[in-house]
């Protein structure tokens, strides 16, 4: 496989994973913000969302929502994306600089390629 094909393949893979990562980050941020807002409103304006008698429940619920913001972060594979992007950048530098093929880079690429091929 030639270098442009490798770069195109890596670019597509990185773009796809980046979308997933952005979605997860946005989800986490939304859950943090939502949970904290619910908790803060429970203290600042009791009765605005739920009745005053449910202030404790609202606080606990808000905390649970905020904590659940960690779930998409746990599921994200940021390290893998970083590694894949590093491989892509290395190939791009190699292409731009007209350097001879790096055996180590190809080895990493083939490992990734094999893993994807195996499903």
């Amino acid at each position: 496989m030639d270098m442009p094909a490798k770069i195109e393949f890596l670019e597509s893979a990185v773009a796809s994973q980046q979308i997933t990562l952005r979605l997860q980050t946005a989800l986490a941020a939304m859950l943090f913000a939502l949970g904290l807002t619910v908790v803060v409103l429970g203290f600042v304006h009791p009765g605005l969302i739920l009745a005053e008698t449910l202030k404790t429940g609202q606080t606990l619920g808000g905390t649970l929502v905020a904590v659940s913001g960690f779930i998409p972060i746990f599921f994200s594979r940021r390290d893998k994306l970083v590694a894949l992007r590093s491989l892509l950048r290395s190939y791009q530098h190699q292409q731009v600089g007209g350097l001879s093929p790096d055996v180590k880079l190809d080895q990493y690429f083939h490992q990734y390629f094999a893993r994807v091929s195996e499903g």
Partner: protein, 268 residues
């Protein structure tokens, strides 16, 4: 699933990219699902709690309304109790009044019975006087004719018995009648004292006249129950006393009761 090894790496790329895309989609769906699961759980729990609280609040409101009804009933009953209490107090007051009236009536009845008993006793001792021949009767008491005639004349005027009375118009009790006659006749030893009424003076009559052992005509005989009667020694029909009784001016046999004492009157 493994990609067919017959394909060249160049041909494999679109298939692999499609696989990568599928995997990422799955990862996205999983992330969203796992993230929203606690949120949905929280919403469900809070909704259930809110519903429970709302139901409890409704029950509390219903109980409050019921309690309010009971409070109103209690207030009404309290007011009724106060009314009944006041009525009971009023009735108690009325019953006390009736009780007092009954006591007074009993006292009056006892007094009437006593008076009746005295009247019965006195009626046995009444000495009949012939008023037509009053002068003939008076002639039997030399020196005291005018006393007898004056008393009989007052009797004709039907002077009434009245406790504490001080005049013929008002009436007299027994001592005050005796004092009235003594003053009319200007008998010595009973001159009026300054500011002293006839009734007050009559109460000291027994002490102001000299005591004697045997009465003469015109002397005063004192009996129990406060009677003060003028004594007349009738040589024909026996001695009698004349004075005011609850039945008016009456002549009685001198021995109708045991005398308390005799007092001498020095007629002028």
């Amino acid at each position: 699933m493994k990609v067919s090894s017959s394909l060249t790496p160049g041909d494999q790329l679109p298939v692999l990219l499609e696989r990568i895309e599928r995997r990422e989609k799955s990862a996205r769906i999983r992330s969203v699902s796992y993230s929203l699961l606690p949120v949905a759980l929280t919403v469900v729990l809070l909704g259930y709690t809110a519903s429970s609280v709302r139901n409890a609040q409704k029950q509390v409101d219903a109980l409050k309304a019921e309690a309010s009804t009971y409070t109103t009933q209690i207030d009404t009953l309290t007011k009724n109790a106060a009314t009944y209490k006041s009525q009971a107090q009023s009735l108690h007051g009325d019953s006390e009044n009736y009780k007092n009236q009954v006591t007074d009536l009993q006292a009056q009845l006892a007094e009437a019975q006593k008076t009746l008993s005295e009247a019965v006793n006195l009626s046995r001792a009444v000495r009949t006087i012939d008023y037509v021949n009053a002068k003939e009767l008076a002639s039997r008491f030399p020196g005291s004719e005018s006393l007898l005639l004056d008393i009989l004349e007052l009797r004709q005027r039907r002077i009434k018995w009245k406790l504490g009375g001080q005049s013929p118009q008002e009436g007299f009790d027994s001592p005050s009648f005796a004092m009235y006659i003594l003053r009319q006749k200007r008998a010595p030893g009973i001159e009026p004292r300054p500011g002293e009424s006839l009734s007050e003076a009559s109460r000291s009559l027994y002490d102001r006249l000299p005591p004697i052992n045997q009465p003469q005509t015109g002397d005063l005989v004192f009996y129990p129950a406060g009677y003060a009667m003028f004594y007349f020694a009738d040589p024909r029909e026996g001695s009698f006393v004349l004075g005011m009784t609850p039945f008016g001016l009456t002549a009685l046999k001198s021995d109708f009761a045991k005398p308390v004492g005799y007092r001498q009157v020095q007629w002028r």
